[in-house]
C-alpha cells in the first residue's frame, strides 16, 4: 500500500493538536517592528505606544545597561544560544493601530481566538465574577468589568493604558521592585516590554472579584515581553490570576516577562499563575522558553504576598517568584506545582528575603517529573541581620514517574540572625505499582489513576488557587502527564 507522506504529516498534526488543545494559531495581519534589537526598535515600540519621553529614556537606559550584561548560564537546563537579533520585539494585530474603544470594535477573529481558549470576553461580563485583561502577542486587547471596578476606585487596565492615564503611579513603582539593572532577562524586558497588566487597589479596598490576565503568543519569531505591575495600597486586598497559552510551533519562542508586586501597610496580594505555554512535541522540538522575573515587595508593615503557580507548559521554565519582606511582620508565601514531561525542563523555586522584623515565609513546592524530563527546585531563604524573630518553613516534595527523568532540590539558606528559625523538609517519591494497581482495580484506567494520585500529591498547592481555577488546574495536571505511564 502506498502511503501519501502529506497524509502522514497531516495525521501527525492532528495527533499533536489532540495533545495540546491550545495549539492553533490565528491568521491576523500584524504590524511588526523590524527584526532585531536596537535603539531604533526601542524607539519604534515607544513611538507605537505613544509613550512619554521619560519612559523612552528609561527603556534606553535599560538597553545601554543590557549591552554590558551577560546572559546567565548557571541554570540546570541548557539551551542553544538565542540570537537576539533574529527576533521580533513588537507584533500587534493591524486592526489595533487605533486602539479599539470597546469590545464591539475588536477584530472578530480575535474574539474567536479567545472563545477557543475558553475566554469568552463578551459573555464574561454576565457569566463570571472575574475581570479579564487579554494580551495577544504584544498588546492588551480587552479588559472586562471595567465599570464595576472603577466604582471602587480600582484601576485594572493594560500597562500601556496606565502609562497614558496614570503616569504618576507607573513612574513611581515601575522598576521599584525589579530595578532595570537587575539581570539580563529583566533588563531586556525593561528595554522592550510591550504590554501587560496594571492593577492599583486604593487604600482600604477589598477587590470584589478575581482579576485575571490571559496571555497568548500568536505570531511566529516573536518574543513576548510583558510587564505587569500590581500595587495594593494600605489595607487593601487583591487576588490576581494569569493564564498563558501559545500555538504549537517547531521553533522555540522566548517569553521573558517581568512582574512586580508592591504591597503597602496591611495590604495583601495573592498572585496565581496557570502556565500552559506550548511545551514542545514529545521529542522535545519547539516550545516556549519561559524565562520570567517575578518579584513582590512587602513594602509596608503587616503586608502579605502569596505566589501560587501551576507550571505545566513550556520547553524550559526558569523562574523564581520571590518576596522581599521589608515591612515588619510581613508574610511571603510560595506554593508551586511544576510538572515536566517528555523533554521539558524546569528550574524553578523562590527567594524569600527577610529584612523586616518578625517576618515569616512559607514555601511549599511540589515537583513532578515524567518521561525524559528534568526538574530542579532552587530556592533561597535569606534572613538579614536585623530581621529579628523571623521564620521560614520550606517543604519540597518531588515525585518521579518512570526511571528516565530527574529531580533535584537545591536549597540555599543564609541566616544572619540568631533569633530566627528555619525549617526545611524534602522528600522524593515514586508512584508505586501497587498504588496504580489499587486504583485500577477500582475501575480507573492508568491515566486516571496517575491523575488522581498526582492531584493528591499536589493538593496543598491546588487548594491555594481561586476556586474558579482549581478545577481547571486539576484537569491540566492530569492532561500534562498523559502518556507518561507505559
Amino acid at each position: 500500500m502506498k502511503i501519501d507522506s502529506s497524509q502522514i504529516s497531516r495525521e501527525k498534526e492532528i495527533e499533536k493538536l489532540k495533545k495540546y488543545k491550545y495549539g492553533f494559531s490565528t491568521e491576523i495581519e500584524n504590524i511588526k517592528a523590524p527584526k532585531g534589537l536596537s535603539e531604533e526598535v526601542i524607539k519604534f515600540i515607544s513611538n507605537m505606544k505613544k509613550e512619554p519621553q521619560w519612559l523612552l529614556d528609561w527603556r534606553l537606559k535599560a538597553y545601554n545597561r543590557l549591552k554590558a550584561l551577560k546572559e546567565p548560564d548557571w541554570q540546570k537546563p541548557k539551551y542553544p544560544k538565542i540570537d537576539y537579533q533574529d527576533l521580533y520585539y513588537y507584533s500587534a494585530p493591524k486592526s489595533f493601530k487605533e486602539k479599539p474603544k470597546s469590545l464591539d470594535d475588536l477584530d472578530p477573529k480575535l474574539l474567536e481566538t479567545y472563545k477557543k481558549l475558553g475566554i469568552p470576553l463578551q459573555e464574561q461580563k454576565r457569566l463570571n465574577n472575574i475581570a479579564v485583561d487579554a494580551v495577544f502577542d504584544s498588546v492588551s486587547v480587552a479588559t472586562t468589568f471595567k465599570d464595576k471596578l472603577t466604582e471602587k476606585g480600582i484601576i485594572f487596565c493594560s500597562i500601556s493604558e496606565a502609562i497614558q492615564k496614570h503616569p504618576e503611579l507607573v513612574k513611581k513603582y515601575l522598576g521599584s521592585v525589579i530595578p532595570l539593572t537587575d539581570h539580563f532577562f529583566a533588563t531586556l524586558n525593561s528595554a522592550v516590554f510591550t504590554d501587560g497588566s496594571f492593577v492599583y487597589v486604593p487604600p482600604g479596598v477589598r477587590c470584589p472579584m478575581e482579576l485575571s490576565t490571559y496571555f497568548r503568543i500568536n505570531a511566529s519569531d516573536t518574543g513576548q515581553f510583558e510587564r505587569t505591575l500590581i500595587i495594593a495600597d494600605k489595607g487593601s486586598y487583591v487576588s490576581y490570576l494569569e493564564g498563558c497559552t501559545a500555538p504549537m510551533r517547531d521553533e522555540n519562542q522566548l517569553h521573558a516577562a517581568n512582574v512586580e508586586l508592591v504591597a503597602l501597610d496591611d495590604a495583601e496580594i495573592k498572585y496565581s499563575t496557570v502556565q500552559n505555554w506550548y511545551p514542545g512535541d514529545k521529542d522535545g522540538k519547539g516550545g516556549i522558553y519561559n524565562f520570567v522575573t517575578k518579584r513582590g515587595l512587602c513594602k509596608g508593615k503587616n503586608s502579605k504576598i502569596s505566589w501560587t503557580q501551576v507550571e505545566t507548559g513550556s520547553a524550559i521554565t526558569w523562574k523564581y517568584p520571590s518576596c522581599i519582606l521589608k515591612g515588619d511582620n510581613s508574610i511571603g508565601e510560595f506554593y508551586s506545582i511544576a510538572i515536566t514531561n517528555n523533554h521539558q525542563k524546569a528550574d524553578t523555586g523562590t527567594k524569600m528575603i527577610h529584612i523586616g522584623k518578625n517576618t515569616r515565609s512559607k514555601i511549599i513546592s511540589k515537583g513532578i517529573s515524567a518521561g525524559f524530563s528534568d526538574m530542579t527546585y532552587r530556592g533561597l531563604v535569606d534572613i538579614a541581620a536585623k530581621a529579628n524573630n523571623s521564620r521560614n518553613y520550606t517543604q519540597c516534595d518531588s515525585l518521579l514517574m518512570g526511571n528516565k527523568c530527574g529531580a533535584h532540590t537545591v536549597p540555599y539558606i543564609k541566616n544572619k540572625n540568631s533569633e530566627s528559625n528555619l525549617a526545611h523538609e524534602a522528600t522524593t517519591s515514586k508512584i508505586s505499582e501497587e498504588q496504580l494497581h489499587y486504583c485500577q482495580q477500582r475501575g480507573l484506567n492508568s491515566e486516571e489513576a496517575v491523575g488522581l494520585i498526582v492531584n493528591g500529591f499536589c493538593k496543598e498547592v491546588l487548594q491555594q488557587l481561586p476556586m474558579e481555577f482549581a478545577v481547571e488546574a486539576q484537569k491540566l495536571v492530569g492532561i500534562s502527564l498523559e502518556g507518561s505511564v507505559g
Binding site: H437, G443, L444, S446, N455
Partner: protein, 244 residues
Amino acid sequence: MLKINNLKAKVEEKSILNGFTLNINPGEVHAIMGPNGSGKSTLSNILSGKKGYDVSGEILFENSDLFSLETEERAHKGIFLAFQYPLEIPGVNTSVFLKTSLNAIRKARGEKELDALEFLKLVKQKSKDLKFDEEKLNRQLNVGFSGGEKKKNEILQMSILNPKLSILDETDSGLDIDALKIVANGVNSLRRKNNAFLIITHYQRLLDYIKPDHVHVLMNGKIIKSGGPELALELEKKGYESFS
C-alpha cells in the same frame, strides 16, 4: 460465573500456582484456606489483573477471557478485590476516591454517573449500614487509618460498587472481634442470588460469621481438598499438616 481451569503461575521462574481449578456459580460463597506461601495472594493478584506473573491456563469470567482484560476492565465487569494491604493515597479524600471509582465503573457500563448529592446520599446510607465512621470519608484515603479501619473501608467500597464477584484477600487478618463482625455482616448483607464471594483466609474464625457454601484447601499452588463448611472446622482442629 468464574471458571478457573488449570491455572499455573510463575514469578521469576518460581512456580506458585500449579494447576489450580475452581468453578464459582452466582449466589455462592467459596472459602479458600491455606498456609503461608500456598499461593493465596498470588491467586487474588492474578484475578485482579496485577502484572508480573508468567501465567498459563484459562480464567473465564461470565464467559469472557480474563487474561485479555485490563485490570480496570475487570473492575468494570464487576470483579472487586478487597486488598490484604489496602494502599494509602496521600492527599486524596476517601469519599472523592470512592466517587471517582463508582463513576468510572458506571461510565464504563454506560450508566449515568452520580452527581455529588446522589453520591453523598448513597455513601451516607452505606456507611451507616456498615457502622463506618462518616468522619473518615473526609480523610485522606487510608492515610493514618488503623488496620481495622482500612479493612472496613474496603468493605464500604465493596458495598458501594456492588460487584458481581468479590474477592476478599485475608480481610480478616489483623481484625479484632468487633471489626470482624462488622466485616462479616457487611458481606452477609451483600449476599444475593446473582453475586458471589471468594474468601481467602488463614483461619476458620471468619467462617463462623460468614457461612461458605464451599471450602477448599490450597497447598503448594493447587486445591488438594474441597468440601462444605465442615471442612473448615476439620482443618482448624487438625491443622494443614494433616492434609499434606
